[in-house]
Amino acid sequence: SQTIHQWPATLVQPVGSPLSLECTVEGTSNPNLYWYRQAAGRGLQLLFYSVGIGQISSEVPQNLSASRPQDRQFILSSKKLLLSDSGFYLCACPIAQRGGRTGELFFGEGSRLTVL
């Protein structure tokens, strides 16, 4: 069955420190992958999406970056965190039964980042 693993689940980091959030997908191959950020229980802001290894599309200019070193691995990074980077980060991919491309998304359990 399709699963998304995100870690760490919770992270508290000082301003200016680096960040690495990881997302690994199982039960599907060559999926589109997405990183969203949610602030204070509000809507989801699309940060990055990837249609394949090494292919990253950035939606919002910011101090975050993403990489896709393997087919089912998607990493969100920062060299120096800002206070405004605090939020709930969700990784997602399309439902495998729908062909694994764009459509109904399946979400991971998220990583909650607090920058102090």
Binding site: N32, Y36, G41, G43, L46, R101, T102, G103, F107, G108
Partner: protein, 110 residues
């Protein structure tokens, strides 16, 4: 600029009431509109709407899309406390992108 706007942003009602949540959009290359429910962590899928005027139903929840007026509504009848959540509207654009509105926080009081 592409926009997905949900209203109201927050809604508090009593158990048993009927609620209507709104989602309007202005996006290029529209393909489909999706509704999600988020209680704690991962949003869960409710509906996907692609054609105008066809109502999707699941129990007490229903939704419909108007592609001429560029909006969708999500109705919940006979609300229960378990319906309390953030409801998210998202638009699939083109082949890859799914963008969301700000969400509506619904609180059902007993």
């Amino acid at each position: 600029e592409d926009k997905v706007v949900q209203s109201p942003l927050s809604l508090v009602v009593h158990e048993g009431d009927t609620v209507t949540l709104n989602c309007s959009y202005e996006v290029t290359n529209f393909r489909s509109l999706l509704w999600y429910k988020q209680e704690k962590k991962a949003p869960t899928f409710l509906f996907m709407l692609t054609s105008s005027g066809i109502e999707k139903k699941s129990g007490r929840l229903s939704s419909i899309l108007d592609k001429k007026e560029l909006f969708s509504i999500l109705n919940i009848t006979a609300t229960q406390t378990g319906d309390s959540a953030v409801y998210l509207c998202g638009i699939i654009q083109g082949a890859q992108k799914l963008v969301f509105g700000q969400g509506t926080r619904l609180t059902i009081n007993p």
